[in-house]
Symmetry: C5
Subunit: 281 residues, 5 copies
C-alpha cells in the first residue's frame, strides 16, 4: 500500500465513500505509518484505530468429527489455537466470538485485523491445520478495509462530527458483538455528494443517543467482496442495540439499502482460548 | 440491561416499534424488576409476561448417526435432556415442539426464554454435548426481545386496547405452535407514527374475533437478527389460524411486509421429554 | 375443530378465501360430521370430498446408505411400509407417488389426508423408523386444509358453478400426479371481493374444456405454511395438463401470483408397495 | 395421449404457445401416429422430429464413493450403462454429455426422449441401480414436451417461416450441447396473440444468420415443470452461439423473460459409453 | 472456430458486445491465427492477448478426506498436479490462486485459457483423478471467451481509446487476483448502440486513474454460461481496487447491472505448485 497514492485518492471528491457514523467510534481513524504494510507490527490499540487496515470476518461450524476425537485430544485444542494466535501476533490481531446457540450456520467467528491480507491468509491456512480447524467448516467469510470518514468531515458537517467525537461509550463492558454486512443500490452510488451527505446526516443524528451504549467499527468492501460495508458492533445492551437499528431503518438512507445483514452474526465476546474450550466439551 | 436507560427509550416517540396485536396476548407485558438480568430467577408465569425477555427459537434436525446408537443409548437421551433443562431452570425457560412430519428442515424446535441471552447460550452449548445434541444439526435460529406495546396504547388507541384486553382465549388447550418471522420494508420504517398507527389499527380490528381461538406472543428482532419480528402462536384450531392469517394478509399493512414466514415452523406442543422420546424410537 | 365456529367463519364474507376451479373437482366438498376430528374414521371416498381435511405432502430422497443394506433387507421394506399404512388406515389416508426420474430433489412423495394433523405426524414419525424411512431424507413438506368454495358459489357465480359441476372427468385413469404450491401477493389479498370474483371467473372459464382430462384438489395454507394454496392434479394427458396451465398463466389473476410451483412435483401414481419396491432394487 | 383432443387444442387460438425459432430446427415437427404412446417404437430420426415427444434432461454429479470402487469395477461401468441403454432403446432415446470441467453442479447430463414419460422413468430407475448410478446424485432435472410451432406459422408469418425452413445447418459436426431453461412473466402470458407474434418475429429475424452454425430444439414445460421452455442447442462454434444469445437478449421479448438459464448446462457431445469411460478413470 | 465467419460477425453492428475498459488491459486483443483451434500451441504471452480464447474459472474446496491421507501422500500432490499442468501446457494455460482464508466456498481457484474448450475439459477431467482432485469438490465454474473491443473503438471513441492505450500498469507486481461475474438487464441489451457507447464512456473515464494500479481482462459469457461477462483483475493495491469499484458503481451503467460478483472470488497469485503445497500441510 502506497501512502502517496492513498492520499491522492482521498482528495478526489468524485469517489463516493460513505461512513456509517452510527455509534461511538471504537477509535478515531489515523494513518501515519510510512513503513510497508508487510513490515508493520500489529499493536491492538493502534490497529483498531488505523485506516488501511484489512478486516476479515470468518465464521466456522464444527463438524461432528470433532467430537469423535477423544476428550484428551480436544482438551489440547485450545492451547494449540492459542499458541498459533501468539505466533502470529505481530502480523495479525485475532478476536474470537462464540456464536453457538445464537446462530444456525456457525459455532464461532474470528475477526482478523492486519495491515496485509496475506498475513491473515497465512494465519487461517495454519489454523486449518489445527485440531479444531481440521474439524470445522468455514461457513461465511467477508473482507473489508478501514478508510477515513468521507461525509461527516470537518469541512462538510462540522457540528455533527463534533457531536460524534464528544460522545464516549460509558456503559459496562460489552458482552456481545454483531457483524452486519450492508450493501447499497445503484441509485445510491449515482447520487450527488450533497444528497449522500444529507442522507448520512439524517442517518447519524438519531443514532447519537446510542453512542453511550454501543461501539461500532466500519470496513469498506465494494468490489473486494460481495457487499459494500461491514459494520461491526459491540454492546452490553441488546435493547439499546435493537432501538439503534430501528432508528437506522427509519431514515430515508435505508430506502437504498439492498442488504442489511444476511447474515447478522451475533457472538459472545470471549478470549480465543475460552471460545475453543466452550466448543471442546 | 439498565432499566433507567430502558425507560428513557420507550418515552422517545421517534423510535418506531410495532406490535402485532393479532390475537389473545399470552400475557400483558410488565417490567418491574430492578435486579440485574443475570440474577433474575426464571418463573414460567412471569417470564412469559415480562418485557425485556430474550426469546431464542432453534430448530434441529436429527442426523442419521443418532439411529446408529443402540436403542439403550437412545432410551437414555430423554432423561439426559430433561435433567439439563432442570439444571438450567432458574436461568432459562425451555419449551419443546415436535416438528417431525410437519417440517422438512427440522425434527424439533426449542424455544428459550431468558433475561440474559448468555444463559440461553450456556444451555444450548451444553445441549450440544448431550446424546441428542451430538447427533443433531441446528437448522434455523432466530432471536428477539419482548417490548411494551407501541402503537395500540392507552394514549393512542384506547378503544382497541380495551377490546384486546377484554377478549380472552377460551378454546380447548392449544395443541399446535407456530413460529413465523416477519420483516418490513424501508417504506414502512419511514412512515409517520400516525400512518403506522392507522395501519396497525386496520390490522388489529379484523383479528379480534380470533382472540378466543389463538394465543400469540411477539418478539422484536430488528438488527439483533435478520428479521424484524418473531411472532409465536398457539392454537387448537388450525382453520381459525388459517382464517386469522388470511385476515392479516388482507389489510394494507401487508403491502409493506417483505417476509412472512420462511420458515413458518409448525410443531406439536409437547413436554421436552416427550419430544425426545418421540424422536428416539 | 369446532363445527360451530367453523360455520360462522364461512359466513363472514370479509375473509378472502379463493378456490382454483381449474378442472374437474375430485369430489364436491361437504362437511357434516359432528364427531371430533380425533375420533373420525377415515374412508377414502369420503375424506377426499370432505372439508376440514388436512393434507400433508412430503417428498423423500433415499440416501445412499439404503443401498448398502443387503438386498434381503430391502426386499422387506415394502411389506414393512405397507403394514404401517394398514395400521394407521383408520386415522390417515396415505397415497404414494414415484418421483424418481422426474425430480432431482426426491425419489418419492407421500400425500397424507387426515381429520387431525397429529395423526399424520404420528404416521410419519413411525415411518421414519422403518428401513426406508431410516435411510431417506425429507426434502420438502407442505401442509394445507380443505375448505368450501369461496368465490364460485351458488350466490355469486351460479352459471359457472353449474358448468363446473356438470363437467365430469371422462378420460382414462390418471397415471401422473402433480403437486404445485401457489402464493399470491399482498395486492391480491387487499382486493375487494368483487374484484377477486371477477379474476376467479376469468380464471375458471378457460379451464372448463380441460375438466374431462384433469382432476384437481385444492388445499388452503395461508399462515399454516409458507404458501397460500396447494394444488393437486391427476391426469393421464400431460399435453392437456400443459395446455391447462398455459390457460391459467394467460389470465390477469396470474399477475398476482408470486409463486407457482417451486417445487412442481411430478410423480407416477402407484400403490405404496409398488413405490417402495421400485426404489428397493 | 389422445390425438383427437390434441388436434382440437392446437386449433383453439386462445391457448398461448410460443416457439423460439432461434436457429436451424433439428427437424420439422410432425405428428401422425395413431398408435398409443406406450406402443410406439423409438427411432432416432423420427422421435427427434415428432411432436408429442417428452424430453427429460437430468444432470448427475458423481459421488466420491465411486472412486473408492476398485478400477476393475469402474471399468465395467461403461458396458453396464451401455447395455441398459440398448435394453431400453425401443422405448427411450438416450443421449449423453460430459459436463465435468464445464459445470460445478454436474459431471454428466442425460437427455431422454420418449413418447411416454413412464418409459423414461423406468430407464432412470434402472440406471440408479447401476454402478455409476448408485454412486451419483441427480442434481437437476427438467421435463418438457414437443409441440407444433405456434406463432411462426404459414398463416401468421409465412415469410419468416419460409426463411427458417430454407436455412440449413451447414457447419462442421457440433461438439457442444447447451440446455437452457426459459420462463416468461405473467405480462407475457397475458399479451394478445398479435403482440406475442410481433415479439416473436422481432426475436426470430436477427437469429436467421446463425442458422448455419447452431442447431436447436424446443420443449414446452409450463405447469409440468418449474419453467416454461427448455431450449436445447448444438454447435461447433461457441462464438457464434454467444453472438446468437446476444441477439436474443437484445430484442423486446427479452424484457418478459424471468429466467434464462439457471442452469445453463454445457456439455461435450459424446456417446454414452465415452461419457462413462471419461468419468471412470 | 472459423476466422472468416468470426470477422463477419464483428462487422455486423447489430450485435451488442460490450467491453469493460476499467483498468490497464493485460494485453491488446489481436486475432491473426489461421490454424484450427485444436492445433494452436499455447504460449502464455500470446494467449493472454488473443481474442477467441476460452477462459474457464473453477473454484475448488478441499474435502476433509484429503487430510486423512498420510502426510507423505499429500507431499506428492504438488508434484502430481505440476506434472499434469506441464503435460497439457501446449493446449491449456493454467493459473492457480490460493483462496483459502479469503473465501468460504473455496480453497483454491484455477483459471484455464485455451483455444479449444475440449482441451480445458480434458485437463480438468485428469485433474479430478489426482490426489488433490479426488479429494476436492468443484464449487463454482464459469466460462467465457475473449472478443475485440466493441464500444471503445478507433471509430466510435478515438480519444478514450488513446487514453486507455497510453496508460500502462506501473505498480509493483500484483499479489491478488479477483474474478467478478457481471450480468446486465434486458433494458441494457435493448438500448441503442449510441446509448450504450455513452454509458461505456461514462464508465471508462473515471477508471483511467486506476490503470497504473490494476490490471484487468474481460471474457464474454452471454448464453454460454449464466452470466454476461467475467471480469478478471490483478492488483497489489486493494484500496485502489476498492476505489476503482466505487467509481464503477457510481456511474449510470451500474443501474443496468443485475449481477456484480456473487461470487467475488479473491485469491493470492501463486504458482500451481505453491498453491497445492499450501493446502497440503
Amino acid at each position: 500500500m502506497n501512502p502517496k497514492r492513498f492520499r491522492r485518492n482521498w482528495l478526489s471528491a468524485g469517489v463516493g465513500v460513505i461512513a456509517i457514523a452510527a455509534a461511538a467510534v471504537v477509535g478515531s481513524a489515523s494513518f501515519s505509518s510510512s513503513a510497508s504494510a508487510e513490515e508493520m507490527m500489529v499493536e491492538r490499540a493502534k490497529i483498531l484505530k488505523d485506516i488501511g487496515v484489512y478486516g476479515l470476518f470468518t465464521t466456522f461450524k464444527v463438524r461432528p468429527s470433532y467430537y469423535m476425537l477423544d476428550a484428551a485430544e480436544r482438551a489440547m485444542a485450545a492451547d494449540e489455537v492459542d499458541a498459533l494466535v501468539m505466533a502470529h501476533k505481530d502480523k495479525v490481531l485475532v478476536d474470537a466470538y462464540l456464536t453457538r446457540g445464537f446462530e444456525s450456520e456457525s459455532d464461532f467467528m474470528l475477526r482478523l485485523n492486519a495491515y496485509e491480507p496475506l498475513n491473515s491468509q497465512a494465519f487461517l491456512t495454519e489454523f486449518a491445520a489445527t485440531r479444531l480447524g481440521r474439524n470445522s467448516d468455514v461457513t461465511f467469510s467477508v473482507f473489508g478495509v478501514t478508510k477515513p470518514l468521507n461525509h461527516t468531515t470537518k469541512e462538510k458537517s462540522p457540528d455533527l462530527l463534533k457531536a460524534l467525537q464528544e460522545t464516549a461509550y460509558s456503559a459496562p463492558d460489552p458482552k456481545y458483538a454483531f457483524m452486519i454486512p450492508i450493501a447499497k443500490d445503484a441509485e445510491w452510488w449515482n447520487m450527488s455528494e450533497a444528497d449522500k451527505l444529507k442522507r448520512m446526516e439524517e442517518h447519524t443524528l438519531p443514532t447519537l443517543p446510542f453512542l453511550v451504549n454501543v461501539k461500532r467499527k466500519l470496513y469498506h468492501s465494494t468490489g473486494i467482496d460481495d457487499t459494500d460495508f461491514i459494520t461491526y458492533f459491540e454492546t452490553a445492551d441488546l435493547v439499546a442495540f435493537n432501538d439503534l437499528n430501528i432508528a437506522l431503518f427509519s431514515v430515508p438512507e435505508m430506502l437504498n439499502n439492498t442488504r442489511y445483514g444476511r447474515p447478522t452474526v451475533m457472538g459472545a465476546i470471549m478470549s480465543v482460548k475460552d471460545v475453543v474450550m466452550a466448543l471442546s466439551k
